[in-house]
Structures are given as C-alpha cells and as structure tokens.
Amino acid sequence: MVALEQQSEQPAIRVSGLRTQFGRQIVHDDLDLEVRRGEVIGIVGGSGTGKSVLLRTIIGLNPHTAGRIELLGQDMDAADDAAQLRVKSHTGVLFQDGALFSSLTVAENIQVPLAEHVTMPASLMFEIAEVKISMVGLPPDAANKYPSELSGGMRKRAGLARALALDPEILFLDEPTAGLDPIGAHDFDTLIGDLQRTLGLTVVMITHDLDSLYAICDRVAVLLDKRVKVGTIDSLSSEPDPWIRDYFHGPRARAAQHGSTTHQQPE
C-alpha cells in the first residue's frame, strides 16, 4: 500500500477516451471513468453492453484501440514491464468462478502471488496464507484441499483470499455473488464490505445483484450506449434514461432497496 501512497490525491483508476472493439463491433467508445480511492463502485449494464470487457480492459487482459488507462497514477500503456508489474502487485482480481489454479491447494494458490512478488521466508508466507484463509471465512481444513474439492461459494472465497494475498489497493470483482444462494450472496457482500473498510480497499465490481449494489456500493457506473454514466444510486434513480429507470425502479430494485434500509450513502 505504500510505494504509490505519495500520489494519494490521485484517483485509483482513471480511464479517459477509452475505445475497445472486436473487429468492426465497437464495444466502448470515448468512455470516461474515474474511481476514487477507497470507494466501492459497481459496474452494471444489460447483457452484452461490455461490462466484463471493460473490467478486462482496465486490468490489461484486453487490448484497447484508443484512450488512456491510469491505475494508481500510472499510465499503463506508457509503463515498462517493471512498472506494470509493480502496479499489478497492488491490484487483486477475483474472477467469476475463482479461477484457482487447479493443480495447487488453496493454501498454495494464495502463496502464488506472494512467492512471485515478495521475498519472504516460506514459514511467513504460510502464516499469511493462514490469516487470509480465515479472513475470507474459509474453514481451516479447506486450506489443504484442491479447488475441485470445494463448492462454488468456497472457490469464490478462496479466489478472494488469493486476490487479497498481497494486500492490494484495488480489488476487481467479476460478479462476486453470481451463482451463490441468497444467504451466501449476502454473506459475501458483508465480507467484501468488511474487508473493504478494514483494509481500505478500492473495489470495482461487476454485478447483476441489486442487493449487492444497495448493500456495499458507494457509486454505480451504468454502461449505456458504449459509455458509462456514474453516480450514486440516488442520483441515478432520477435519470430520465428508460433502461436506468427500469433498472432502479423495477420490482426487484424496490425489493433490494427495502432490504437495505440501514445503509447510508457516505456522500
């Protein structure tokens, strides 16, 4: 959390003029997005609007044709390999099904980023893995299991533990609650919220889950017409756009809003 702390007035992520396309199909055009440090931002949008593409582009898995992406103040296109690696060690990504390495146990999975980025004794690495496993709410005996022996919810938790291994500043989550039962989803939301507050994380999450939005997101970025519209849930609720109106005023949204009466927006 340190090397880049000096520029802490800078936003965690700044995307400007982004354009991504597959062949002739343009997914994003002139897209601007700014994520502040320490906030939780939810990316929503209809199917096929390019939510996952946006996330993958920001973390550098997907090439963009125009625009500029800055992570922690570092322009990722201009950065050399060493600088890119440094930024990578300050970001963690949780993929949809955890994306754990299937040939390694959970504890070994969590130690992979540590072994790659940090010099530390093996015993300490193991102790840190222990703490992370417990932090994400996995039982201790899950540590020596292989991903194929875990349930979907446990794989997500293990994936989260691996994403948190280096105590990143930015955490990217791709549909963290998809495929979980409502109780599991609620627990996972609570977990992410708790970790975010404790570790001071900046969280970018793609979600379809309205409960997650109301429960933990400070702001929401709606993907519409190849761009994003960013705002708090309250400010977006008054948008005239029909998709946004349907999204935030549909029966499911009302139910979710009702369920999160205790949550207050920080702004």
């Binding site: 959390m1 340190v2 090397a3 702390e5 060690s89 299937s102 146990t105 504890a107 540590l114 980025h117 940090v118 010099t119 530390m120 004794p121 015993s123 300490l124 193991f126 102790e127 840190i128 893995a129 222990e130 703490v131 992370k132 496993i133 417990s134 932090m135 201790p140 005996d141 540590a143 020596n144 194929s148 948190l164 291994a165 280096l166 105590d167 507050r197 404790t198 570790l199 001071g200």
Partner: protein, 386 residues
C-alpha cells in the same frame, strides 16, 4: 541493547530495535511494515527475545509509516509470543486503522491443520500399482459393457433403419473419411517409398531386386495400409469424438438430451460408430493405392523397374486375398476406434481438465487395441492359411 536491524537507509525501510530497561523490554518498530517489506525482518523478529527476568514488554508502533495485514500479523505474532512467555504486554502509538487491522488479524489466527503425511514411498508404490490394476480391470469391464450397448444399438438400427441419423452419419463420414484423405494418402505414399528403398537395399545384395515388389505389395496391402490408416484415424477422429462428446458432457448437453427423451447412444454414438465402420475401409483402399504408387515411383527411380514391370510382378506376388486380408480388418478397427472414442467421451465428468485427460487416454487406448487386434488377426490368418 544493540539494534538488530540495519536502520540507516531511509524512513520507509522496515526495521525494529529492541531495548532492555531492567525488567522492561521495549520493541520499537519503524518504517513500512507491509507485505512487500516484512520478509526481510521476519527471521530477526522471531529470534528477538527479552533477557531472562523480564516481566513487561512494550511494542511501540508510533514510527510505523505503512501497515497492512502482513505487518499486523507480525506485530500480533510477536505480542502473542511474549504473552505466552508470561510477560505483561502493551502497545503504544497505535493508530485506529492499525488497531482495526490488529484486531482483524487476531480474530483470524486460525492455524491450518497439518496436511496428511505422505505415505512410505514403497507402500505408496504398491498402493498405486494396485489401484491402477483395479482401475484397468474396471475400465476393461465397462468398455465390454459399452461394447454390448453399442452392438444392441447397431442391431436396433439395422432392424429399424429410421433410427439412423443420416445427416449426422454423413457429416461424420465426411469429417473422418473425406477430410482425412490428404494426410492418409501422403503418409501411405511416403511409407511406400520407404519400404521400397529399405527392402531394395537388402535384396540387391542377392541380385533379387525384383522381389522388392513382392515385399512392398504384401506389406502395404496386408498390414501397412490398414494399420497406418487406423492409427491416423485414432489420432484424428477418435480423439475428436472424445473431445466433442466430452465437451457436451461438461456443458450438460448430454443430460439435456436424455431429459428430452433422446438416447445419446442413438444420437451421438451410433452415427460415429457407423461413420468409422464405413470410412476406414474406404480410406484403407485409398491408402493401399497410394502406398503402391509410392513403391512404384521409388522402384522406377532407384531400381530401374518400369511401371509395367512393377505391375506384372505385383500381379504374380499378390492374390485377391492379400487385398482382402487388409480390407477385412478395416471395419473392425474403425469400430474399435469409434467405440473407445465415444466411451471415453461419455466418461467425462464436470471439469474441462477431464476432457483433456480422457482424450489422451482415448488415443492411447484405441491405438493399443488396434495393434493387439492386428496381431490377433495375423495369428488367425496364419492358422486358416491365407
């Protein structure tokens, strides 16, 4: 007490100093205590201990600049160790955020149970051998059971030809047969050349070069043509069958089929079985031709045996049965390759990884079975005398 760590570099450098003051031991931490930095002081911190007779320990965090869970873990572990040694512990200079992290780490100090001890290597070897033997036996039994199901499916299809899915059948004949022609033809042609060259080299010493034609004719028609084609098809189509059916298994398409009332045996297995039963003899015929052509070409070039001479000699060297011996084997090989390919495909469960594993297994198994069957055919033909 002396500083345990080199602290001369800069403010961010992770370091600690220990000081003994009578019965009181003070540990002053400074710099960044983060995942990236704590690795260097871990060993030193583990060995740092107060002098005997110390009753009180104070850990001072005021000079810490950066702090995360790794740093918090070290502080917590140190405090825990001191407490376990019967000392009164206290902390100083802890900021609220650091306090939160310390509390988080403290509540998550849950040791992982030791992984089970690996067994004695000799016992493990014996266990693996036993397991592999039993697995092979089970697999053999299941394959025979699948063979029975397939034969029933074929019998049903012959009784009611409407059950045959002709579009799928022709699709697979095209993919496994027609599309394989270039590669099968090329390989047979090259093997024809190689066989001619090798046998001519030896026979020339006896002045019997013309008998090269006999060797090539017999060799290609009886064995090489059909064997090479079968091996090519096992690699090309047997593996494809396993991968296709396996992927469908992973995506639950096979389950969906069953709930709709479609029998995977009819829909997936039967067209593939029949396709290879039909395609392999045809391909073998083509491979035979190309092999002989390669032989003839090499004979013309290196042995001065003209094409006419080659054909005349071939006519005396082979009988119609020589040709049939090769061709008769082809549908059997085709059946076995498709059988193994489909069987392994249907055995795929859950993960994409098992598709890869079973595809490899399918190829190895079908080539093995083809060669075993070929040997059995050889014995059979020699007994009946053709």
């Amino acid at each position: 007490m002396a500083a345990l760590n080199d602290d001369s570099i800069d403010d961010a450098h992770c370091r600690f100093t220990a000081a003994q003051d009578g019965a009181r031991w003070t540990l002053t931490l400074a710099g960044d205590w983060t995942t990236a930095t704590v690795g260097s002081i871990d060993a030193g911190l583990r060995t740092a201990a107060p002098a005997p007779g110390t009753t009180e320990a104070l850990v001072d965090l005021a000079a810490i600049t950066g702090f995360d869970t790794a740093g918090a873990w070290l502080v917590y572990r140190t405090l825990k160790g001191l407490k376990a040694g019967g000392l009164e512990t206290a902390t100083a200079g802890v900021r609220p955020a650091q306090q939160t992290l310390l509390a988080t780490v403290a509540s998550n100090d849950v040791p992982i149970p030791e992984p089970p001890e690996p067994a004695n290597p000799f016992v493990a070897l014996a266990e693996r051998t036993g397991r592999a033997t039993v697995d092979a036996a089970i697999e053999g039994r299941d394959l025979v059971s699948f063979l029975g199901h397939s034969v029933i499916a074929i019998a049903r299809a012959i009784a009611q030809p409407r059950r045959i899915r002709f579009i799928s059948l022709f699709h697979h004949i095209e993919r496994a047969g027609l599309n394989a022609m270039p590669i099968v033809g090329l390989i047979s042609f090259l093997i024809g050349i190689v066989m001619t060259f090798q046998s001519a080299d030896q026979l020339e010493k006896f002045g019997a070069s013309i008998f090269t034609v006999n060797i090539v004719g017999q060799g290609v028609l009886r064995e090489m043509g059909v064997l090479l084609t079968a091996i090519m098809l096992a690699g090309r189509s047997g593996s494809a069958f396993t991968a296709q059916i396996g992927t469908m298994k992973v995506r639950e398409e096979v389950d969906a089929m069953q709930t709709i009332g479609l029998d995977p045996m009819d829909v997936l297995v039967l067209p593939r079985l029949m396709a290879l039963i039909i395609a392999l003899p045809l391909l073998t015929f083509f491979a035979n031709l190309m092999g002989l052509l390669g032989g003839a070409l090499m004979a013309t070039i290196s042995l001065d045996i003209s094409l006419i001479q080659f054909i005349r000699q071939l006519n005396t060297a082979v009988t119609l049965w020589t040709f049939w011996v090769g061709i008769i084997k082809a549908p059997v090989f085709g059946f076995v390759i498709a059988l193994v390919g489909c069987y392994e495909g249907l055995r795929v469960t859950g993960s994409a990884e098992s598709v890869g594993r079973l595809t490899t297994r399918s190829v190895v198994e079908s080539i093995f079975l083809v060669i075993v069957l070929d040997a059995m055919f050889s014995i059979f033909f020699s007994i009946i005398g053709i």
